[in-house]
């Protein structure tokens, strides 16, 4: 009887662990999981173009990671990308409200992240705050296009 009981328990554990693994694969590895919760506070920044910025990309200040991108939305009225940044709670009251947000790329092929340049204001960003000074991501095709365009103009002037 005890033998049977042990078998039952172990098979139950086996199935539970198996389904747990499947759950892990579908929630954590694939894209089912909802936006990251956790502590900290959220601020909003609007960009004209976010390039290939993703949810959960890092937010850095002077190169130090201070938070993550928690949501990316699109404003239908102003045609801007609305990026919600979740800043870790230990950086509360340390980011001035005239901070400048830019989108950088880590390396040539690396992923994109949000870099914050602190301003000089004495008031700090809090939950629901807005970062108004932003600079869009560099889109390589646009830069190449501009370069070619200016070259073509130069050529036309010489003639």
């Amino acid at each position: 009887m005890t033998q049977n009981r042990t078998t039952e328990i172990l098979v139950g554990a086996f199935m539970a662990v198996g389904f747990l693994a499947l759950f892990f694969l579908s929630m954590q590895v694939s894209n089912l999981s909802s936006s990251s919760g956790g502590d900290g506070y959220q601020v909003e920044a609007r960009f004209d173009n976010i390039g290939s910025l993703k949810v959960r990309s890092p937010v850095t200040m002077a190169g130090v990671r201070v938070g993550r991108v928690s949501a990316i939305d699109f404003d239908r009225k102003t045609f801007e990308a609305v990026v919600t940044l979740r800043i870790d709670s230990n950086y509360e009251k340390s980011i001035p409200d005239d901070t400048f947000a830019k989108i950088f790329t880590a390396g040539l092929l690396g992923e994109q992240y949000v870099g914050l340049d602190a301003g000089g204001s004495a008031t700090f960003l809090a939950e629901g705050g807005q970062i108004t000074l932003t600079q869009s991501a560099l889109v390589l095709e646009e830069i190449i296009g501009q370069f070619l365009f200016s070259k073509a103009e130069e050529g036309a002037k010489i003639e």
Partner: protein, 271 residues
């Protein structure tokens, strides 16, 4: 005239041809027997509902006892993927995509395939040896004499236990592999924690990748259990016959898994 025909039949070329024909007919015969056995096994599914304990005991010996080898292999395969992937990706400055590489290769390919190979070696060979030995010691005939259908009582629970255990084992393999890759990539080599998971989550699709991996492992579980049971049930009832059948189980299962994997991959991911 008759003499001439006999001489014609004994030409060396024809002898080779006849040998080839015998091999072909032998393979066909094996396949036919295998299918008949499969139908008999599937027909015994009612036994599982009347005696669930049979299935439970087999799930224990096929599934629970395979956890350890699957868990250890999964972790180490994931760790190696993390190391090698980091080495190659860092040359392109793309080590942020390490998570995608580890997870995609585990969930799509390595999880189902390596688990199936381990399963064939760990559980399949045990099934074949057990049933072959039952046959050699005339336990199967004994059951028949007591009017118990040995296929229903012995083979069906083992078949379904293998079929059910395989996707769960493959899921454990993949999950532990991802964690192993995370440990090496993020813990030891310094890939960004968030980038590891976020890139993985944006690139890995639930239906496209995870579900297809589960389907693959279901197919492999079906085929591996089937081959193991067929070899055991058809084994020559001597010690040598059982040992040969066990070897054939591992070899045939591995071939079947690798060949089927190519076909399934081409069907699922090839456009």
């Amino acid at each position: 005239m008759d003499h001439e025909a006999n001489a014609f039949r004994e030409l060396p070329v024809l002898e080779q041809l006849a040998r080839l024909g015998r091999i072909g007919l032998g393979i066909l015969e094996q396949m036919g027997r295998g299918h008949l056995l499969l139908w008999q096994i599937l027909a015994g599914i009612s036994e599982l509902f009347t005696r669930p304990r049979l299935l439970l005991n087999q799930l224990f010996s096929v599934g629970v006892l395979s956890i350890l080898i699957v868990a250890i292999s999964g972790t180490f395969v994931g760790m190696v993927l993390g190391l090698q992937g980091f080495y190659i990706l860092s040359q392109f400055g793309a080590e942020q995509t390490l998570g995608v590489m580890v997870a995609a290769s585990l969930v799509r390919e390595l999880g189902p395939v390596v688990t199936a190979l381990l399963f064939a070696g760990r559980a399949g060979s045990a099934l074949t040896a057990e049933i072959g030995l039952m046959k050699a010691t005339e336990q199967l005939s004994g059951l028949e004499m007591m009017a118990v259908n040995p296929i229903k009582r012995i083979l069906t629970p083992r078949f379904f236990a293998g079929f059910m255990a395989m996707p769960l084992l493959a899921a454990m393999f993949s999950a532990l592999g991802v964690l192993g890759g995370y440990f090496v990539g993020v813990g030891l080599l310094g890939v960004d924690d968030g980038a590891f998971w976020s890139q993985m989550q944006t690139k890995i699709d639930l239906n496209e990748d995870v579900l297809n991996g589960v389907i693959k492992s279901l197919v492999f579980g079906f085929v591996c259990s089937w081959i193991a049971l067929f070899q055991g049930y058809g084994a020559v009832p001597t010690s040598e016959g059982v040992s040969r059948a066990t070897t054939r189980t591992v070899v045939h299962s591995s071939f079947a898994v690798l060949g089927l994997d190519f076909i399934l991959t081409a069907l699922m991911f090839g456009e």
